[in-house]
Structures are given as C-alpha cells and as structure tokens.
C-alpha cells in the first residue's frame, strides 16, 4: 500500500545568493523512504555533499540548511509541534541537526510545503518570508545586533501582525558563534550543533512563515479517535500534573539523588544545594505561567519571573533541566535568580545553554588549575558560583570579545589553543556534553560516543533505565538498548513530533504507527518505520565517515575515563577504556559497520537514487 495523503509533496528551495525560490516536487518514493524531519534533512544534505565532492565549509554558502517538519507535525495528536534543522554543523564539521518545538513547523507546513532548504548567502542581513505560496527575501539591516526576542518583536511590528511564526537568531548567530541557536516563539530553540551560526553565515536573520492551508490528513476521524485515546492516557498518568507544574525541572532532584547531576564542571555529580535550584524552588518563588508547544498537554515550558534581588524583572521561558544544570550546579551557582538571568541572556544572544554552561564551567576549572592565566581571562577573575563574572563571560562569548572570541569557536578551538583543556572540557566530536553524567552508565557513554551529532542525549538516553535496572545487564543488552533508542528516538524527529509523551509518560510507541496510518493512508507497522529510521542512522553515519570520521572519534571526554565523581552514589566510578572498546566493537558489529565504524558499500548504494 502506498502513500495517499500526509504530504504536499513540495520542497521549497531558496538560494539566498541568487535571490531565488523554487517549489520542487517530491516523489512518493522519496516521502515514503525518508518520512520527513531529519530523514529529509539527512538525504538533502547527503546529496549536497556529493554535489560538492564532500568539501563543505559549514560557514560557506554551499552548506545547505534544511528546515524540515514531518508528516505528523501540526496534526491532531499529542505534542506534534516539532521540526528539525539539519546541516553540516560548524561545531563538529560533521552531520548536525537540532529540533525545536513551538508552532513554527506547523505554520511552515501550512504554507503548503514539506521541507525547506536554504543555500547561498544574502548580500545583506535579510529575512526570508514565506507567505503561503509567495516567497520573498527582504533585506532588514535594521535588525543587526538585535536580540532574538527583539528581532521577533520588530518583525511582527513591521509586518503588522502576530498571526505568523518567526525563527530568529541573536547577536551570537550573526557573529557565527559555533553553538548559536535558532529561536522561535520567543524562547523555543533549536539549540545544538550551531544552527544559528549557519543562519548568521548566510546573512539570514530570520525565517518568517504565514500559512493558512489545511494539513493533509487521510482519515481525520480515525486520527481524532486514536489521538484522544493517547490524550486520555497521558492525562491519567500519575506524573501528568507534575509535568504540567514543573516540566523538566523535576529532573533536578532525580539527577541529584542518583548522582548524575553535573556539578563544578563534572568534578562531582551531586550538588549540596540542589534544593535551591530545583522544581520546588521554582514553583514556590519564580513560576508565573505555563508554556506549551503546539498540541501538547504536558506544557513543560515554565515561565519564570525574578521578583526580588538584583535581577528583579527578569522574565524567562524556562529553565528546563539542561539549562538549570549546566548554568546552575555545573557552574556552582546555587541562586535560582542568577540561573534565570543567565538563561535569559543566552536566549537574547541566541546561544545554546548546554554548550555555554559546559564551556564556562571548563574555563572556571581551567583557571582554577592554572591552565588559563588571568591575562587569558582579560584580567577578570572567574570562580565557581560568581554570577556577575559568569554573566559577563557569557556576554563576551555572544559578542566575541576578548577571550569570548576563542570560546565562541567551541571546544575544538579551545583545545587547539590550550591543549591541556582537553582534560577539562567534556565534548565528543566537538560538541559539548549534555547534563547527564555517563560515568554512572556505560550505555549512556556508548550513546554519547556514537551519537551522530556529538555528545548529546537526543539520540539515546539510556541512563535512567541502566541505573534503575541495568547494573547487571550483559554487553549485548547494553548495546541493544542504545541501538533501540538511536532508532526510535530519531523516528520522532522524522515524524515531526516530540518524544516526551513516550519517554516520560510511557505513551505506547505503537500509537505512532496508527497516527502514521491515519495521516498518510499507508499501513506501516512500527517495525517498518523503525527500519526506515535505522536507515537514516546509517546515512548520517555515512555522511560523517565520508567527512573523515572513524572509530577514533567515537570516544568520550577524558574525565569519563580518568576522573571519577568525588562524592555521591557514583563516587569513584569511571568508564573502563578496554570495556568500552569491546562494547563499541559489538555495537559496530550489530549495526553492520566494519571494525573501524565505517558502513559498507552496500549501505551507501541504498541512498544513490
């Protein structure tokens, strides 16, 4: 059975250098094979790489930026407001993607396209405006230097309407900070892999979409019945209310209790003052509202306001767990208002809070250990928990001032400049590690090492399960769970929906094969969809290996091998290098890649069409 609905089968390609926009047709075979989201992105990026003989400068006009929602984006089912940004990442020089929530992807689809790709570089700072069937590149030099939030406001004012969606970059994106974000709905970010920096390199300050079209759904009433079952399940879940109230902030207490909370740049994995930065503190003193992505009942976005002290008046959407951990305990900050202020600053500059928290933490530790001198720091001392100095440093990164100019190029450049920082900074393939301590869970280590974008938890998040029930897992079980996560989780990014209903509230993944069926009219069992997702994992691997990556890059930060957490339940734990290498070999074997992690030629042939 083939696709009957679910797609417009249109691909909008914009060339900013030529100032051209064309709507291309997508074939049935293409949409069936690549589904959408990162699947479309990986394929278009792969084709573009081949066109340029695998020589692409992430900041060059040849780097193709793909913006791709999925066939389920915006249709009636829980948490369907996601879309992916895919390109060659300036942080890693490899395949990069990042997804964002909010309503942008929904409205992008409503303009009547399934995927947008952007090549070239605009002659001056511009805004791409897709207004239903019409596409214009509008120079707006007046937006230069404006924050993400200001720019969104100014664009809405200039176009005289609220009823559209905007993705912006901040100063950091303009300055091509290698971990700059793309920001939408004021504070929802495609945070990782430097998507904002690519927009900056393209002189593209914002993408604006206004779409009024019906989204194609094969069987609306079937979909509504299935979705309502899922909604009712979620609403009855015992943690549903906690999610509505605290969102991801409820993870702080958990991470601290099980000893995986990054503390003092991962020197430790429990934070003595965690209860000053947890969900309860937020609820009691700071939270003033909820924020949800499109069609999401969980509303994990918290809106917080600082009501007293020197940061009074700071409003921020968030923080969530990663932000609060990386800009909080990881930097020794025990004051929630300071975290909010740092999070707001990151939103304005448009930089990723994970990479920023990781790099600032490494700078503090580097200075403490004497690797960085006071003159390296432009004469401004920085220590754990020093909110003012930390905010100043973040500001310098976004604006590329002083030491900020080096830090803005990410961990690779930092290690080049100060080789001893290799032992301090936590990164894989040039992407700074997320806020889950893999020393407590070797499967999490394997997940970071083999993630196609670098040390991010989006591809596989096995840490909680291993801590809870996996202490005696066999090697095989450890590898299998990583591969299962790396297959299922990216499927959500291909379909264009959020994974939280599944991972956090246990919504049965079988719902998604039904959603897919009702939207596209094609029956595909989950197994078949997972197979397609697995193919994309092969494809992103192929992109990376053809760009020069191999087994040696599937490694972990020095601290994971050598420096155990000082206290807490995982005190003394590190990952054994030899055991890790054994697991890695088994992982390659199960994936059908060779001993050096290279996919065989027959895998490459699958993506020739």
């Amino acid at each position: 059975m083939s696709i009957k609905s679910g797609y417009f089968k249109k691909h909008l390609h914009v060339d900013l250098t030529k100032g051209s926009a064309e709507r291309l047709d997508l074939s049935d075979a293409f949409v069936e094979k690549y589904i959408g989201g990162r699947g479309f992105g990986a394929k278009l990026v792969w084709d573009n790489l081949k066109k340029h003989d695998f020589k692409i400068d992430p900041f060059g006009s040849e780097n193709l930026l793909v913006v791709a929602p999925g066939p389920l984006t915006g249709v009636y089912l829980p948490s369907s407001g996601k879309n992916s940004f895919v390109a060659i990442s300036p942080a890693t020089g490899l395949y990069g993607d990042s997804s964002m929530g909010g309503g942008f992807g929904v409205e992008l689809r409503q303009t009547g396209i399934d995927v947008l790709s952007i090549a070239g570089r605009a002659p001056e700072l511009s805004v791409l405006f897709i207004d239903n069937g019409e596409t214009n590149i509008i120079p707006m030099p007046e937006l230069k230097g404006k924050s993400c939030l200001e720019a969104e406001g100014m664009i809405k004012e200039r176009l005289d309407t609220h009823a559209l969606h905007v993705v912006t970059i901040g100063v950091a994106g303009e300055n091509m900070v290698r971990f700059a974000c793309a920001n939408t709905d004021w504070s929802r970010n495609a945070g990782r892999t430097g998507i904002g920096a690519i927009m900056g390199a393209k002189n593209l300050k914002a993408i604006v979409v206004r779409g009024d079209r019906d989204l194609p759904v094969y069987d609306v009433s079937g979909l509504v019945a299935e979705a309502d079952k899922a909604y009712r399940y979620m609403e009855k879940h015992k943690y549903f209310k906690v999610w509505q109230q605290e969102g991801l902030m409820n993870v702080i207490d958990y991470a601290n209790a099980v000893g995986i909370l990054p503390t003092y740049n991962f020197k430790d994995s429990v934070f003595g003052k965690h209860n000053q930065i947890n969900g309860a503190t937020m609820l009691e003193q700071y939270k003033i509202g909820d924020s949800a992505c499109f069609l999401c009942p969980m509303c994990c976005g918290n809106i917080c306001l600082v009501k007293h002290g020197k940061y009074t008046g700071t409003v921020v959407e968030g923080p969530e767990y990663e932000t609060c951990a990386m800009l909080g305990s990881n930097l020794g900050i025990d004051d929630f208002a300071t975290i909010l202020s740092a999070a707001r600053l990151c939103d304005e500059l448009g930089i990723d809070t994970i990479s920023t928290g990781s790099i600032v933490g490494a700078v503090i530790e580097g200075y403490e250990k004497g690797i960085l001198s006071l003159s390296d720091l432009d004469g401004r001392e920085i220590t754990w928990g020093d909110g003012d100095a930390i905010l100043e440093l973040i500001q310098k990164i976004g604006n590329r001032q002083g030491i900020g100019d080096i830090l803005a190029d990410g961990s690779r450049r930092i290690i080049e400049k100060w080789p001893e920082m290799d032992k301090i900074i936590l990164q894989v393939k040039g992407l700074e590690q997320s806020a889950y301590d893999s020393r407590a869970s070797i499967s999490m280590g394997l997940a970071y090492a083999t993630s196609d974008i670098g040390a991010h938890h989006t591809r596989a998040w096995t840490i909680a399960k291993e801590i809870e029930e996996g202490q005696n897992w066999s090697d095989e079980e450890r590898v299998d769970i990583v591969i299962y996560h790396q297959t299922l989780r990216p499927l959500f990014d291909m379909l264009g929906v959020c994974r939280l209903p599944w991972i956090e509230l246990g919504l049965n993944e079988r719902h998604y094969e039904n959603f897919y069926k009702y939207v596209t009219g094609k029956e595909a069992p989950l197994k078949e969809l997972l197979k397609l997702s697995n193919d994309i994992y092969d494809l992103t691997r192929l992109i990376n290996t053809r760009l020069g990556m191999s087994r040696k890059d599937d490694s972990l930060p020095y601290k994971v091998w050598a420096n155990p957490p000082l206290t807490g339940p995982n005190a003394g734990k590190v990952i054994d290098r030899e055991y890790f290498q054994r697991l890695l070999s088994l992982y390659y074997q199960k994936r059908g890649w060779d001993e050096d992690g290279i996919p065989p030629a027959e895998i490459e042939r699958r993506f020739e069409d």
Binding site: G74, V75, Y76, G103, V106, Q110, L149, H162, A163, D185, W186, S187, G211, D212, R213, D214, L215, P216, V217, V220, L223, V224, Y231, E235, Q244, I288, G289, D290, S291, A292, C293, F294, L295, C296, P297, C299, G301, I303, L305, V315, E317
Partner: protein, 176 residues
Amino acid sequence: MKKLTVIPEQCSGCRICELVCAIKHFGVNNPKKAAIRVLVTYPHPVMRMPIVCSQCKVPTCAQVCPVDALRWVEGVVQLDEENCTSCYKCVEACPFGAIYVHEDCDLPIKCDMCGGDPECTKKCPKGALRLIPVAVLAESKRLNNVLSYTQMKEIEFYEKGEKKIIHYAEIGKEEL
C-alpha cells in the same frame, strides 16, 4: 444558561482548542479555521489569551450587521448562514476581535458553542476553558474579595494541639 469562560492564567498556549474547533466545524486539520485562537504576548506582559466569542446579550456584531444575520438566541449569538453576505462588518466591529475569517470559508467563523457542549472546553488540558452557569460567574472573585477584606482581625488558637487562625470582622464599630 452556561457561558464559555476563559481563564487566561491557566492557559499554556498549546492551541488544542483551536484545532478541535476547526476539526469539529470543518472536518479539516487547520487551526486557522477555528473560532477560538490563542494570542500570546511576551515578555511584557507575559500572557496567553484564548479569544472566543463572549455571546454578548447586546451584541455589537449584530448591531452593525446590515442584513440582520446575527441574533442572540438562548445564550448564543447565532449566525444566519442563509442571509449573511460575508461583508465582515461584524469581524471589524467585535470589541474582542473574536470573529475570524479564512479565505477558503464563505462565512465569517464564529463560535456557536457547539450546540451547548463546546469541544474546546472538553479538550483543554489545563482547565483554562470552562463552561460555567452564568449565575456563578465571578463567584471566585467575590469570594476572594471577602477573604482579602482589609478590616479583618485575627486571633490564634489551638485545636487538638494544632495552631490555627480565625479571622473575624468586628461588628458595631464605625471607622469611616
């Protein structure tokens, strides 16, 4: 008689209300065809406000309608689809901007209360949209007003060993 009541403080901006409205009335997956929309402002002020017809008993929209196609009947301002000319005078006149237009649709899009059982109030995951009998409208505000009455006095006392506070207003004193 019941009123569709919006409690914006509870709204998360998820827009489930928009889509269920559009699906119910048009059978299509398009939030731009809804008779309810969530307007978001940020950060000054932080607000998420679902905007939907208030079913005014003295409707401005009906007053400006040149063909008398809008009438308040039993708690709902009803649109006479036969007579409406789609001049959109009502759209511009509504003081809340609660009547919508979509290019595909011949008529203005206006909340009809789903015949008394609004889909949006059933599907809102936050309880921000409620169907409330008009007799109890604003009751919580009245209660709050009583509880925050500034002339109240308090005494502490112990009940089964637990400390409690009772509030009271002293009668018979004129402190004007």
